[in-house]
Symmetry: C3
Subunit: 182 residues, 3 copies
Amino acid sequence: MSDDKLKVGVVTISDRASSGEYEDKSGPAVSEWLGQALVSEWGTIRKVIPDEQNQIEEVLIYLVDIEKCHLVLTTGGTGPAKRDVTPEATLAIADRVMDGFGERMRSISLKYVPTAILSRQVGVIRKGCLIINLPGQPKAIKETMDELFEAIPYCIDLIGGPYIETDESVVKAFRPKSAIRK
Amino acid sequence: MSDDKLKVGVVTISDRASSGEYEDKSGPAVSEWLGQALVSEWGTIRKVIPDEQNQIEEVLIYLVDIEKCHLVLTTGGTGPAKRDVTPEATLAIADRVMDGFGERMRSISLKYVPTAILSRQVGVIRKGCLIINLPGQPKAIKETMDELFEAIPYCIDLIGGPYIETDESVVKAFRPKSAIRK
Amino acid sequence: MSDDKLKVGVVTISDRASSGEYEDKSGPAVSEWLGQALVSEWGTIRKVIPDEQNQIEEVLIYLVDIEKCHLVLTTGGTGPAKRDVTPEATLAIADRVMDGFGERMRSISLKYVPTAILSRQVGVIRKGCLIINLPGQPKAIKETMDELFEAIPYCIDLIGGPYIETDESVVKAFRPKSAIRK
């Protein structure tokens, strides 16, 4: 575990948002959620890119290898349509896949919509960074993060990142007793 | 989304049914369920083949590439036994895997039997077709379809197939508001 | 299905337990659980090895190919940390992956801790043997086995192993009626 400030990459993946055809509301929704949840220090780097596998891979590699992000959250591009390639790009640059993240995110969203199973979202680790594909809709982003985030601070501990503290009225970071810093 | 009639391939995969050793009850159970659930126009192509990976792959490719099915439902051959090779064949000809389908089908069947976890059934996309490995038992087919099918019409919308309408007393097709045709 | 006595490999995977830095409590917890649950005859082979992928692979291959185990239970090394390589080793020597086991184990542990999703544990088949990655903590081992084991005897039937009988006050082995021996 390091004493660095948490560095989070937030990547909106959308042809229309990246071309300016409409305003990106997903990336801001991710940042807003983090702003409410995090009590320890953090900073963010935001990117808005089209649904192009090569570009997504490049941005993910840049955020992990050059910017040294500890956490990268993507939004968009996880459905079954041809232009949806976020999971392909994420898997292509992954060191290891965390199957539990994809399962859990679909299971959370399934409480709201039966079409949650159509999402191919994944969670992976590249070097010392956890990368997670969030849904595209601001409402679904919040629903997912409210539950999923409980497990993220301990995951970041285990891969060597900074100790994250949260506002427990938003989400409680769960750690085994031996991993809690007083 | 196209205005074609929905074309469904139904493939029974069973050494004993294909040799005539016993009557195929699984394929008919799939067709019967579809007959009760679908309100929009549809047609079906039925195949009964042995548990041979090459033959399964050939039939799946034929149904998607030549017959232009929008949906292919297989039944049988998903267990842990050596002769069970339906998932292997399905994955071998897939363009992309929809992990949520396998997870959801096991989770539905788990409400009935703890051995549901032994099924290796998958859902995949090849070209414009959704291919799903259903269980082999007629009872389990119905249990699965009653819940799983909620998400299938919207999936077929997203991969360019026809707009499916269902009898809501059997199953309600879920779509986000913006995707509902009046 | 054979009439052999059930042979179970129990492998503790831990740098500290294998170096003697601390006492292995996980392997004994697995054996103790089996001792309480199994009514039919069984025997066990125990191994304690470090978190080294090559060594894990060698031990798994030895237990399956040479010792002819019907079931191998590993404990430890399934988390996101760099030294955790049990799933990588297990997948590397697998003939087929049983996705339902990983899903189910995470889903069982999720009732106790939200960080259950961080486990990358898998279940696979190699030849006539079922290999399962259990959690590392004795408490989590028991929680998992109490529920998961319901599906294991029938799985071992299907891959050609001996007929396992359990003490139903610990866990009930589920089998379809046609598979129950009187």
